[in-house]
């Protein structure tokens, strides 16, 4: 990671030209880069057509920051997030998570990363409909723990899940199924689920995209609080520039390329 800080990538230079005019005026001790990609390429096969989605993306997200990825539909922002979250593998290029290169990991190692290091939340919440809110939150723990280990630690895990649900304001809805909850509640449950295994990065794919303004703000509030209080690194995909402004830095994608990357006014302010 040290090379990233000493030798800025072309993207960051380009980004700083636009979004960081005052950065030079008020220099900051930038935190170290936690997630970054180098010349990341990904295309999808649709019949005989090969549709390039990412065409050499260089991206960086620093530890303890909220990095927003914005762009139009089809710009490749969700794909980038999936690649960062090891849900998918790139055609070429590199992804680094701390010191670990994640693009060429085995399936099992990627499963482990998703289970333990990354917390994922999605636009459509993606809760398991058969399980209650509490069980949904416990699912990653169940996946990481074997049956006996889970059984031995069930009280602590349950207590942690309840604590997380209380933190997102759902302490009273533990036994409710997803269909009995509102969109905001479901998204808050998803956040609690993403946090159960104490991840290092929270990857959020349009977390407010399916919510009304007020509920979206609540959810965003939780995310911001997580960043502020616990210093959790958050990478958030959104198409709403105003939401993106809430974070520390913004990466704008356009047609599979980073159009610019820079710090937000909040960061600067």
């Amino acid at each position: 990671m040290s090379n990233a800080t000493t030798k800025p990538t072309p993207t960051s230079t380009r980004g700083s030209r636009i979004a960081m005019p005052s950065a030079q005026a008020k220099p900051l001790v930038r935190k170290k880069i936690l997630l970054q990609t180098k010349n990341l390429k990904k295309s999808y096969q649709k019949g005989p057509l090969q549709i390039p989605v990412l065409r050499g993306v260089d991206f960086q997200a620093r530890e303890g920051e909220i990095t927003s990825i914005i762009g139009q539909s089809g710009s490749g922002k969700s794909t980038l997030l999936h690649l960062l979250g090891t849900l998918d593998v790139p055609d070429s290029g590199e992804i680094h998570f701390g010191d670990l290169r994640t693009d060429n990991l085995s399936t099992r190692q990627r499963d482990y990363l998703r289970n333990n290091k990354f917390g994922l939340i999605f636009q459509f919440y993606h809760l398991l409909p058969e399980l209650t809110a509490l069980e949904n939150v416990l699912t990653p723990a169940m996946i990481s723990h074997g049956i006996w280990k889970y059984w031995r630690n069930r009280k602590q895990l349950r207590a942690k899940a309840v604590e997380l649900l209380e933190m997102v304001g759902l302490g009273h809805r533990l036994t409710h199924r997803p269909r009995e909850m509102s969109g905001g509640e479901m998204q808050r449950t998803a956040i609690a689920r993403a946090l159960i295994s104490s991840p290092e990065v929270l990857l959020a794919d349009e977390p407010t995209g399916n919510l009304d303004r007020k509920t979206g703000d609540e959810v965003l509030g939780i995310i911001k609080r997580l960043n502020q209080e616990q210093g959790l690194t958050i990478i958030m995909v959104t198409h709403d520039a105003s939401i993106a402004q809430e974070g520390h830095s913004i990466v704008r994608l356009d047609e599979g390329l980073v159009e610019r990357q820079g710090q937000t006014s909040e960061r600067r302010g």
């Binding site: 849900l87 499963d111 990363l113 993606h126 398991l128 058969e130 990653p140 889970y150």
Partner: protein
Amino acid sequence: MYKLMLCLRYLRTRYIALASIISVMLGVATMIVVNAVMSGFSHEMHKRLHGILSDIVMESHSLNGFYGWEEQISAVKKVAGDDIEEMTVTVHVPAMLSIKVRDQWVPRHVTLIGIDDQSYNKVSDFSQYLKHAENRQQVSFDLKEDGYEAEAGSPLRDAGWNHRRMKVAFERELAEEMRRFEILNQTGRMPTEHAPRRTPIGNEEDVAVDEQPSSVIPPFADDPDAPPLPGPKPRSLASGPGETGIGQVDPTRRGEDPFASRRGLPTRGTFDPAVHQATGIILGMGVGSVRQRDAEGQVKDYFMVLPGDDVRLTFPTAENPPKAVSETFTVVDFYESKMNEYDSGFAFVPISRLQSLRYMMHPELGNAISTIQIRLKPGANLNEVTNRLREHFPAETSPYRIQSWKDMQGPLLAAVEMEKTILNILLFLIIGVAGFGILATFYMIVVEKTKDIGILKSLGASGSGIMAIFLSYGLSLGIVGSGVGMVMGLLFVANINRIARVIEMITGREVFDPTIYYFREIPTIVEPVSIAWVVFGAMLIAVLASILPAIRAARLHPVEALRYE
């Protein structure tokens, strides 16, 4: 952990899976019921087929039998003596049995078997099927006083000496009456003197025999067709019936061989047909009776002949060319192996009598016999011993051929076996169909759960973990389905006769007709091993059927699965 939880949760919430469970359940239950009934049926058949047959039969090629069987027996003992428990010899001959029913002679075809009453029941279970308790202990060709076992109301209960005396008395009375009418016809005058009533009717048989021995006349004494009675003509006949010259009955001499003196065997007296029976014969139940339904639909046996009655047998001698001989025998017992083929086809008489009647006694060669019957020791391998004997006594050079009882009933046993195999295959196909049902259902569930699979994968669940969910789902369907099916099947088997009666009541048709099968109840045998196989097979099919959908689920790409709508 999540695998177990989701598997159970899916089991509880996907009612379509219930259809798979039911199909597995029905398949398993049917297989268990059919197997139990088929096993019961085949066991019962084996028992009955084997019933009056010995394990191995060395059967003469010709009807005339063979001599020198004593050497053959010692030769057999040398070859397979360690496996042989007991051996005996018999004479087989096809015969015509004539039964007098209401003054009509009814002929029936039987296989007449001459047996040694001392040793024959040691080589087969023949004696177990006899109707008299004493005969079951030790077969005897003596007519018993009474005590033939049968259901209440069956005339068999009144059979025996009592029946014989009553019948003879009746015939005597009738003959006397006929004689008086004859005189009336000839002279125009009714004879005034009435022959004294000689036969007391009642329960004083023993007294009657001792004090009024003249009351019993020999069977067929008035029958002009009856063959001459063997032995020196008794005084009673010489002086005509009704005279008082008949000696006291010596009960120990009943059934004594009248030919003993001719064969140079010691004899203690002269055969006295007036109060003795003719040579005893044991008939199959189906030979002497007809099983029918009465007006109320109850299955009943109608007897044409009872122990105590006489029958005529006509069969070929062992001469060249054979001649027919006829002889009177007294029915002394019935056997009922419940195997229709035997019960209506065999009659047993003492071997020495049959040999003498058929001229199978040679002054130099000894007696001829037609089969050597062998019973093996328990645990001996029937096929192995049979083959060993065949090897040593090839049919080409021996006067007999060697068959095991299974060979003799081969086609029937093979048919039952094949029936069972085919039924099992067909029924297993039913479970196979259930398996495809599971496959289709599972595919549906996997498609339906695509998004959930994506979610689980995004949370770090491995492909094998996802696969395990669906495999254990299939396994639990198999376990629940086959478990419930097993319980259902066993309950069905336990209550099969009650169920049959209910079906009878509803359809009005008898499920298991005892007039055909000779079974009053449906026989069932529950074989734990076959049940274990059925249950295991059903579970295996359920798991196999879930493999494909599980693989599909495991291979789903998380991103594509998440996007799936």
